[in-house]
């Protein structure tokens, strides 16, 4: 394999600098000891991280976000496993359309989804409730969960299942003891990716969140629109650290390139 020349490596260094710059600056400003936005030139301080605790709105939004992400990704995975098995194993009329429908939240702009959910939830009387948030988040994380479960189910060796059935296993036993363990890596990765997607979502959620039930990214977004101070840096830095931990776990568990690029390799 040919090596990269010095020019290519210089380009690469600039590229990585560009990618990391905004992330590094947020984390750096979060450690400032000053009362205003500045880089920590006179030592590091955790005062802005401690300040998060004095701001109950952020703490509550963080808790709600965790619950919302856990609930919606779990339900999305529960719906995805049978749907993925149906799509991976059966050839039936409407199969392509079904897959396109389940993947459609990726194609529809989040703003449009947010508006559609806002209108719908208001009409049926669950506007601004946690149930509305969960329903909408199941829909937007489904494509991520489904894609990974589908990739795992497509690559499954059917002979093992046939062996289980011929040895007298009931369909349920076969699923529990043979199929599920085999697709488990896809299911778990799908759940984690769905969790992060739900946890980070802001564009759609900003339409349907209410002051009483809101998520951390939405709270942060609304705060930033009014003013930018070191507090939003420390909240964002905390988010970045958490995401980095999940990212490393996902990379070990599944491989980030496989996760993003898809099963084709």
């Amino acid at each position: 394999m040919s090596r990269n020349g010095p020019l290519a490596l210089a380009f690469h260094a600039l590229f990585i600098g560009f990618v990391l710059a905004p992330i590094v600056i947020v984390c750096a400003v979060a450690f400032t000891p000053e009362g205003y936005l500045s880089l920590p030139s006179h030592g590091l301080s955790l005062r802005w991280f401690r300040a998060i605790a004095d701001y109950p709105e952020f703490v509550r939004a963080f808790r709600d976000s965790l619950w919302l992400a856990a609930l919606s990704s779990s339900i999305a995975v529960l719906l995805s496993v049978p749907a993925a098995l149906a799509i991976a194993r059966y050839r039936f009329t409407g199969r392509e359309a079904l897959l396109a429908l389940f993947m459609s939240p990726l194609m529809i702009p989040s703003v449009v989804l947010g508006i559609a959910f806002l209108r719908f939830f208001t009409v049926i009387g669950i506007g601004g409730t946690f149930i509305g948030l969960v329903l909408s988040h199941i829909v937007i994380v489904m494509p991520f969960a489904l894609r990974l479960v589908l990739a795992a189910s497509t690559g499954l060796d059917r002979a093992v299942e046939h062996a289980a059935v011929s040895l007298g296993a009931s369909p349920l036993t076969m699923f529990r003891r043979v199929t599920l363990p085999l697709i488990l890596p896809g299911v778990v990765s799908g759940w984690v990716l769905a969790f992060i997607t739900s946890f980070d979502e802001v564009t759609m959620t900003v339409f349907i969140a209410s002051p009483a039930t809101t998520t951390l990214p939405v709270r942060l977004f609304l705060y930033i629109q009014d003013n930018i101070d070191p507090l939003v840096s420390s909240v964002s830095a905390a988010l970045i650290f958490l995401t980095a931990l999940v990212m490393i776990a996902l990379d070990r568990l599944y491989g980030l390139d496989r996760l993003f690029v898809g099963a084709g390799k």
């Binding site: 149906a86 959910f117 829909v139 629109q225």
Partner: protein, 290 residues
């Protein structure tokens, strides 16, 4: 096989996918249909939403230059973001692909990882960097490249820079995927036949990764045209794009029918571009997909 059993087997996939299908019909298709319907309703400051059928909102959007300007800005920004993302993302994917372990894996995580970080946190980073006393302006002034701080915030330039950062990984992913399918033997054959590095890149690599570049561009364009948080934070309340306009109509002006019309138009435009570009790619590069 009895007919009853045949029927049972035919219904099995629908039973398995049924719960998800019910949810998507109830919570995606019906709400979208309701939004389209809403865009034909009337609205007044005092009467609120009036459920009659009228073309008023659509006429307003078609004739008022205010809306035309915002949609024009939205697509101008999306086009700039797409062009820049491809110009720097495609070479980076190529460079990454030529790296050996462990660097390749490490840098791939650094490049793709930001996709998982909240877009609000990433845009905040750009708001800090691009402010009039931000690091970018400090650097430009120190280097003597500009005499006075450049106004990046509340400008289209600032929006483009931040959106390129947010969407760049999609180009890298897409080009990376098509580079994985490339047979390195073909490159080697070209070199052994006396082709220069530039010729190999232009005649061998580029034609084969073109579908990847195109599909990455479509994703970036669609996401840039409908981006919300980044334009809202960098553009402030005055420099609007289609999605922030819809947001204002819904949550500030409370003219829901007009906001719905803006959203439906955005949906149609984005869908048309995705479908059109996919058709083009499939026809033009049919042989690559075989």
């Amino acid at each position: 096989m009895s007919t009853a059993e045949t029927r049972r087997r035919a219904s099995t996939p629908w039973l398995l996918a049924g719960p998800a299908l019910l949810l998507f019909v109830g919570v995606v298709l019906i709400p979208i249909a309701m939004t389209v319907l809403l865009s034909f309703h009337d609205w007044g400051q005092y009467k609120g939403i009036d459920p009659i059928i009228t073309l008023k909102n659509w006429r307003d959007i078609a004739t008022d230059s205010y809306f035309f300007e915002i949609f024009l800005r939205t697509f101008r920004i999306a086009l700039m973001v797409t062009a820049i993302s491809v110009a720097i993302g495609a070479p980076e994917a190529y460079i990454l692909n030529r790296m050996g372990p462990p660097w390749r894996g490490i840098f791939l995580v650094i490049v793709l990882g930001p996709l998982l970080i909240s877009v609000v946190a990433r845009t905040l980073g750009w708001a800090l960097l691009l402010g009039s006393t931000g690091l970018v302006n400090v650097a430009l002034l120190r280097l003597g490249l500009v005499a006075a701080p450049v106004q990046f915030m509340f400008s289209e330039t600032g929006m483009v820079i931040a959106l390129v950062h947010v969407l760049l990984p999609f180009v890298v992913i897409s080009v990376w995927a098509s580079l994985q399918r490339l047979d390195p033997q073909i490159e080697n054959a070209a070199v052994s036949l006396g082709a220069s590095a530039v010729t190999v890149l232009r005649r061998i690599v580029l034609p084969q990764v073109m579908p990847g570049i195109l599909s990455g561009s479509v994703v970036v364009f669609a996401l840039a045209a409908s981006a919300f948080a980044t334009p809202a934070i960098i553009g402030g309340r005055r420099l609007k794009v289609a999605s922030t306009l819809a947001y204002d109509e819904f949550l500030n002006t409370l003219n829901w029918p007009l906001g719905a019309a803006v959203a439906v138009l955005l949906l149609i435009a984005v869908a048309a571009i995705i479908v059109g570009a996919n058709r083009f790619t499939e026809r033009r590069y049919a042989e690559v997909f075989q």
